[in-house]
Point group: C2
Chain length 282, copies 2
């Protein structure tokens, strides 16, 4: 049982963490922190938060567990601001999509004042955002990647993992750098590719959009995601994203070459391998 | 009312056309034609077909409406074989994903014996295939693109459009070449891109597949489609596909350049345009 849970940023992920904590009685008190008082009100009004504040020091004081759920880049600055304000003994995590930068910041901060930070990444986003679509069961059945390093305090890893498991998530651990490579391949690259697909069609063959069927709609659903959030994610994970993009281009070049030279047998064999790889994804 | 409907190929699309015709009482008799007797049996056993045959001449004789629902390349050869076997006055259509080649074949055949052909493309596929997943309501709410040319007999266009409308589809007409450009952009390019995504991840970062969430799954769902069917579609629409691919590469290059030079404002503006274009897709 957490005595006081403080969540900075009450959007889809922060709001869902609060709702899951409330529904599962995971914390005695839940405090929401945000820059805009008006945006926090709905979560107080519906009983998800016990209280809300725009004052970081006030919100963080006395919290055993702090979850940073602001946009990716804001989290790095937030961690700097939060560090001196947090009680000794409290544990900090986040919900951002990139980890290496944040973990580096935490390591640097830990040189001045040791505190227990471990990164989290719930793989449970949406092309929509905001508290209005937050739900207590968002993490149920989802994977949350937790990213300890060799200097992470065991109790931080334990507390944070236990929190996510209590929300119904499956917890996996990866080193921060591995995490960033993995999510570049499985999430950030598909986003960039879906964006490029929509961009190509709207520029090159806009009338075709009237004929979009399920194939196009599914393939490009994530291209409707929040532009600010994704600009920050692309920035935050730039190196891994560019490496993934290089692998994607190589795969696309190889497929194009097979189409161009009409090599039916080789193209079928490759498509067959791809089909099997895709079918193995749960 | 169609007196006799003959369908060549009783898979997902041919089987669904038969089921829709049966459910809507659109034809007095429904005949299924295929190469493999055993594969036709289930559709006779469940009452979808009145009879089934592996003999093209026997199956086509006396049919008012013939639907070619074999794979794309087989349809071109089938059209050649069927042409002399079909009754004068009967109308032929197909359900293939590419049109320019088939329409060219029909035009050439019409020089020797005038017959009424008009192409159809129901935008209602699936990554799965086969009669087992055919359903009477597959076309309900879907778009069927019909591709008349300036030499198409008006009664062929009318009969074929009326048939699809009676299955619950919305019918749109496009010239065959326009159709092929449109579906290259909206269907064949997304397929190739989804294939390349899966191929890149399975080669470059296979462990990442364990962390696939909804974004990756949706973006790559169509990469599990039938390899033979898609090799034929890529072949059949190669020129339009390669043109679409060029547009896609230009869009991807432009996005990559924004990520690479960390131009937050320009990247957000582009992502915002993309988001709006995607949201406008019904």
């Amino acid at each position: 049982m957490i005595e006081r849970l403080a969540i900075v940023g009450i959007g889809l992920l922060g709001g869902s963490a609060a709702k899951a904590a409330r529904a599962g009685r995971l914390a005695r008190e839940i405090v929401g922190i945000g820059r805009d008082r008006g945006r926090l009100e709905p979560a107080v009004a519906d009983g998800t938060l016990d209280r809300a504040t725009t004052d970081l020091a006030e919100g963080l004081g006395g919290a055993d567990l702090v979850i940073l759920a602001a946009p990716v880049l804001a989290n790095e600055a937030l961690l700097e601001h939060a560090w001196p304000l947090v009680d000794t003994g409290s544990i900090i995590t986040d919900v951002g999509s990139t980890k290496a930068g944040l973990v580096r910041t935490a390591r640097r901060l830990a040189e001045t004042r040791p505190l227990a930070f471990v990164g989290s990444h719930p793989m449970a986003g949406s092309e929509q955002s905001g508290y209005a679509i937050a739900r207590a069961d968002l993490f149920r059945g989802a994977t949350v990647i937790v990213t300890p390093t060799d200097t992470t305090e065991p109790r931080a890893l334990k507390t944070v993992s236990a929190f996510w498991e209590a929300t119904g998530a499956r917890v996996a651990t990866l080193e921060p750098e591995t995490h960033d490579r993995v999510v570049a391949a499985i999430s950030h690259l598909p986003h960039l590719v879906a964006d490029a697909l929509v961009d190509a069609v709207r520029r090159f063959e806009p009338a075709a959009l009237d004929f979009a069927a399920r194939g196009f709609r599914d393939t490009t659903r994530i291209a409707a995601s929040d532009p600010v959030m994704w600009q920050e994610i692309f920035h935050g994970n730039r190196d891994s994203l560019l490496a993934s993009l290089e692998a994607f281009r190589a795969a696309l070049d190889a497929l194009e070459a097979l189409v161009r030279r009409d090599d039916a047998a080789a193209l079928r064999a490759t498509l067959d391998d791809i089909k099997r790889a895709r079918e193995a994804v749960r």
